[in-house]
Amino acid sequence: MFKTVYNQTSDMPVSILVFTAMLTILGLISLFSISMNQFDEVGITTFTKQLLFLIPAFVGFITILFIPKYMIHKYIYIAYSLMLIFVLTPFLFETIAGTHRWINFGLPVSIQPSEFAKWIVVVTLARYLSDHNLQMKKFMTILFPILIALLPAVIILQQPDLGTAIILLTPILPMLYWVGARPFHLFILVAPLLSIATAFHTISFTFWAIIMGSIIYLTQPRLVFGVLLYFGNIFLGLLSPFLWNSLRPYQQKRILTLFNPELDPLGAAYQTIQSKVAIGSGGFFGKGLGWGTQTHLKFLPVQESDFIVSVIGEELGFITIAIMLIVFSIFLLKVVKLAFLAKERFPGLVLIGIGTIFMAHVFVNTAMSTGMIPVKGLPLPFISAGGSFLLSCFIMIGLIMKMGNESIE
C-alpha cells in the first residue's frame, strides 16, 4: 500500500508543497509577532494555537493523499449531503460571537463546518459537470450546478457569514466556462447582479449600461430577447434605489448588517484606515518583526485573521508582501497548468474550482486590507490563524496533489 502511495506521490507536483510551506511559515512568523504581546491566556497564544492546528491539518492532508481518486468521485454526493447537515447544525447551538458559524463539542476549539463546504461544493460540481454528457450550449443546463453551490451558500448566509457564502459561489463561473458553457449565458447570469450593484452609483451604472449594450449587440441574440435582456436589466437597476428607499430604516439596517455583520462601533471606514496606515507605515522593508506599532497597539482589528496582511505589510514591508503575492500567483498559475495537463474532466474541474477559491480568498483579503473593496471578513490561505480554515486549506492542497497527479491510475 505504501508503495503505491509512494509511486503516486513521486508523480505529484512537489512545487505546490514548497509554496504551501513558504506561505505557512510566513503565517507562523506573523502570528508569532502578534503573540509577543499576548498575555491573556496562560501560555496559549495565537501562535501556539496555530502550531497545534497544523497537526490536524497535516492529518487531513495525508488522509486525502491515501484516498483513491475514484473513491472521492464516488462518495462526494454523500459527503455533500453530510456537509449540508453540518452547516445546519450550528443553528442548534448557542451563538458564538453572535453568529451560528461554529459547532462546539465542549472542546477548547470549535469547528466551522462552512469551511469544509468550500471544497465539497467544488468536488460536487466537478463530478456533476464531468459525469453527465451535458448540453452545455443550452442555457437551462447551467442552472442545476448553480443550485448545488447556492443551497449551502444560502444556509451559510443565514449564519450569517456573507464572505464564505460568496466564496462558495465563485467557482461556478470558471468551472462552467471550463466545461464549455457559452460565455453569453454566463453573462446573462451575472448581469442582474451587476445591474443592482451599480444602480447606486450613477457613473458606474452608465458605464455598465454601455458595456451591457455592447456585449448584447456583439453576441447578436434574437432581437426580442436582446431588447428584453437589456431593458430588463436597466429597469431593475433603476428600480433598486426606489425599492431600497421604500424599505423602513430598520429593514435597511437589517440588510446592511447582513452584508456587513462587523459594522464596527468606531465608524465605517475605521478598520480600512487603520489597516492602510499599518501597511503604508511599514514602507519598503517594514518596521521589523515585533516593532509594528499599529499591530501591537491594537489599532488593527482582527489582525490575526482578516487583517493579517496588514501585520505583514507593517512589520516585514513591501518586499515581503511582493514575495508573498508572487508566490501566490506562481502557485495559482501552477494549479491552472495542472488543470490543463489533466487528462480527464473531473480532476481538471476540481483544480480549477479550488484554484478559484484560493484566488478569491487572496484577492478579497488583500483588496479589503488595502481599502480597494468594502470590509469583508475573509482569511488569507495558509497565513491567517484559524484551525478549520487551515485544515480546509491543507485538504485542498491534498486535492490539488491528488488531482494534479499526471499518472494514470
Partner: protein, 577 residues
C-alpha cells in the same frame, strides 16, 4: 484566459501595495506615529497653604473630571442619559454644567466632576456608546481645616481662552490650567504653582493607555512650593465662630512683626464654592446677597473709624508744642454748641470736667470738640497720613483699597472753599464725616501705637522678612502717654473698653472703643487695641457693623482673642513655625 486573469489580478494587487507602502509611506508613517504617541501634560500639584504651625489650610486632592468634546458628541441626549445613569447626577445638571463650561466645539467642556471609581468603571463600560466623552485627572483644591478664610485664601480659576488672551504672562499658561485668582492663591501664584510635566504614552485605538514610550523619557512635573502663612488656625477658628452671627471683621496681628494671626471678614463663605459644584443659582444668591459675603471687609471695606481715631487728635495735642497742658480740663455738659451747630456727647448727662486721659478713657466727645480747635486741619491730616491712613498698607493681598483722607483740597473740591468750616474738622476728629478707613489701616495705626512707631507691614507670608512701615517722628513721652490712656480705657472703672480685658495675670490690655455713626443704618461698633505680656504683643481690630456700642459689642470679641492667645502661652505661639 485563466493565466492572464491571475497575472492581471496579482499585478493590480502588487501595484496597490506598492502605492500604499512605497509611494504613500511618509504620509502613513506620520499617521501611525500620531496613533502611537500622545504627549499628555501632567498637572503639577499646586503648593499647599499652611498655617504658622504647619496645619493644612488648603490642600490638593486628585479628582476625575468628565469632559465632552462637543464636536464628537453625536447624540448629546443619549450621552447625557448614559452618564446620568452612571453618576446619579440629574441630566439637567449635566447639561447645565456642559453649557456653562462650553468654550467651543473643539474644546472639551466639563460635564461633571469628583467621579468615584465605580462611576468611572461604569463610564468605561459604556465607552463605546459614549462619543467624545473623556475623563481626566484634575487636582482640585480642598479645604480640610474647617475654617472659611475665603477672603484670605482666595481661589483658583481654570484658564479659558478669553482669559488667556488677556493675560500678560500668557506664554506660561495653557487653556485649562489653574491660576490663583484671589487672595493668597493669587498673591503667591509664582510659588504655589508648579511646572507642568509631559507624559509620553502609547495609546491604542480606543485612546486607552498601554504603557510608556520606550525611547522618550517623561518630563516630570515640578510641584509648587508650599506656602506657610502667619495664620494661627485655632485662633482663626475661634474668632470665625465668635463672629458667625455678626457682620463685621476681626483682625489679629503681631505688632512686633506685622504678622497676621487671624483674619475674619464676616459674613464669609466656604472657599469650596469656587471649585465647581456650585450651581449658577447658588452663585447668584451669593453675589446678590445684601450682606455682601464676597466683600473682603478688612482690606476693601470703607468705614468711618469713629472714636478709635481720637488718639490722632490726642497725639496732635500732645505733640503740638504747648497747646495743651497735661491736666488741662474741658467741661463736658453732654452738649456743645459750635456756631449754629449743636454737638452731643454720647453720655447725655455729660462727663463733667475731663482731662485728656479721662477723655480717652471715657471717650468724651465734648472734650475733643473743644480741644481739636487748637490744631489745624493740615496738622491733623498729616498726622493721619503718617499713621498710614489714605494710602495702602501694602498687605500681601490683591486689590487693597486706600480709604479716604479728606485734605484741604478735597474739602474745597467737595464743598467749595466756602462750603466747609472748622465744624467739619470737629467731625473728623471724632472719626466721622468724610474720612473713611479700611480696618487694615486701623491695624497699622494701632500697631504703631503699640510699638511706638516701629511696626511692620501686615502680611501673611511667614517666611517674609518684615518690611518696616514709614518711620514716625514723635516724642517718646507722647507714645507713653497714649499707651497709658489706652490702658486706662480698658482698666479704669469708667473705661469704655473694660469688656476687652480677659484679666490674665501679667497681661495688660490696651484699647479704644468706637461707636461710629453711619448714614446707612445703626452705628458700627469698634474696638481697636492690643495686649502685652512682657515683650509679647498682639493687636486686634474688631468691627461689628450696625452693632451699636463698641464697648458692649466689639470689646467682648477682643477679649475672646486675647484670652485665646495669652492663656495659651503666647511665647511659644508667636515663635513657632
Amino acid at each position: 484566459v485563466a493565466n492572464s486573469v491571475i497575472i492581471i489580478v496579482f499585478s493590480i494587487l502588487l501595484i496597490r501595495f506598492f502605492h500604499i507602502q512605497v509611494y504613500g509611506h511618509n504620509k502613513y508613517k506620520k499617521r501611525a506615529d500620531n496613533n502611537r504617541i500622545r504627549a499628555i501634560p501632567t498637572a503639577a500639584p499646586r503648593g499647599v497653604i499652611l498655617d504658622r504651625y504647619g496645619q493644612i489650610l488648603v490642600d490638593n486632592y486628585p479628582t476625575y473630571i468628565l469632559t465632552g468634546l462637543p464636536n464628537e458628541m453625536d447624540n448629546e441626549n443619549w450621552n447625557f442619559s448614559v452618564i446620568s445613569a452612571c453618576t446619579a447626577v440629574d441630566t439637567a445638571i449635566l447639561i447645565e454644567n456642559f453649557d456653562r463650561y462650553f468654550r467651543g466645539r473643539f474644546i472639551p467642556s466639563r460635564i461633571t466632576r469628583d467621579l468615584t471609581f465605580e462611576q468611572l468603571s461604569c463610564i468605561e463600560e459604556h465607552k463605546h456608546e459614549l462619543t467624545g466623552i473623556n475623563y481626566i485627572q484634575f487636582p482640585e483644591r480642598s479645604f480640610p481645616s474647617g475654617v472659611n478664610m475665603s477672603h484670605v485664601l482666595g481661589y483658583v480659576k481654570e484658564i479659558d481662552r478669553s482669559l488667556l488672551s488677556n493675560m500678560v504672562d500668557f506664554e506660561q499658561y495653557d487653556v485649562g490650567d489653574l491660576i490663583g485668582w484671589q487672595g493668597i492663591e493669587k498673591q503667591y501664584e509664582n510659588q504655589l504653582r508648579g511646572k507642568k510635566g509631559l507624559a509620553f504614552l502609547q495609546v491604542d485605538a480606543f485612546g486607552r493607555e498601554v504603557g510608556a514610550v520606550k525611547d522618550i523619557n517623561d518630563i516630570k512635573p515640578i510641584p509648587g512650593k508650599d506656602v506657610f502663612t502667619t495664620i494661627d488656625l485655632s485662633l482663626q477658628k475661634t474668632l470665625e465662630k465668635a463672629m458667625s452671627s455678626y457682620k463685621g471683621i476681626v483682625l489679629v496681628t503681631d505688632p512686633a512683626t506685622g504678622q497676621i494671626l487671624a483674619f475674619v471678614s464676616s459674613p464669609d463663605f466656604s472657599p469650596d464654592i469656587f471649585t465647581g459644584n456650585t450651581t449658577l443659582r447658588q452663585w447668584r444668591e451669593i453675589v446678590n446677597d445684601p450682606t455682601k459675603p464676597l466683600l473682603n471687609r478688612i482690606t476693601n471695606g470703607l468705614y468711618p473709624p469713629g472714636s478709635t481715631l481720637k488718639m490722632i487728635t490726642a497725639i496732635a495735642l500732645l505733640e503740638g508744642g504747648l497747646t495743651i497742658e497735661q491736666n488741662e480740663e474741658f467741661e463736658c455738659a453732654g452738649i456743645y454748641q459750635f456756631g449754629d451747630r449743636v454737638f452731643k456727647c454720647w453720655k447725655v448727662s455729660g462727663h463733667g470736667k475731663v482731662n485728656l486721659d479721662q477723655a480717652i478713657t471715657q471717650s468724651c466727645n465734648i472734650f475733643f470738640y473743644q480741644a481739636v480747635q487748637r490744631i489745624s486741619l493740615n496738622r491733623f491730616i498729616n498726622l493721619c497720613r503718617s499713621f498710614g491712613f489714605g494710602s495702602k498698607t501694602g498687605i500681601d493681598l490683591p486689590n487693597e483699597l486706600t480709604g479716604l483722607l479728606p485734605t484741604r483740597d478735597y474739602m474745597n473740591r467737595r464743598y467749595t472753599s466756602r462750603g466747609w468750616s472748622r465744624g467739619h474738622l470737629l467731625n473728623l476728629a471724632l472719626g466721622q464725616g468724610d474720612l473713611l478707613t479700611t480696618p487694615i489701616q486701623l491695624a497699622v495705626y494701632i500697631n504703631k501705637i503699640a510699638t511706638k512707631g516701629n511696626t511692620f507691614i501686615p502680611h501673611f507670608l511667614l517666611s517674609k522678612v518684615p518690611e518696616p512701615t514709614n518711620s514716625m517722628n514723635l516724642n517718646e513721652q507722647t507714645w507713653i502717654y497714649i499707651q497709658d490712656y489706652l490702658l486706662h480705657a480698658v482698666t479704669d472703672k469708667n473705661g469704655t473698653g473694660s469688656a476687652a480685658d480677659p484679666k490674665i495675670n501679667g497681661t495688660n490690655v490696651y484699647g479704644k472703643t468706637g461707636t461710629a455713626q453711619n448714614p446707612h443704618g445703626d452705628d458700627h461698633a469698634w474696638f481697636v487695641g492690643y495686649a502685652k505680656n512682657r515683650n509679647q504683643m498682639a493687636s486686634t481690630i474688631i468691627l461689628v457693623e450696625n452693632g451699636g456700642s463698641g464697648g458692649k459689642i466689639a470689646a467682648p470679641i477682643a477679649r475672646i482673642a486675647f484670652e485665646h492667645l495669652f492663656n495659651n502661652n503666647i511665647e511659644n505661639r508667636l515663635a513657632a513655625k
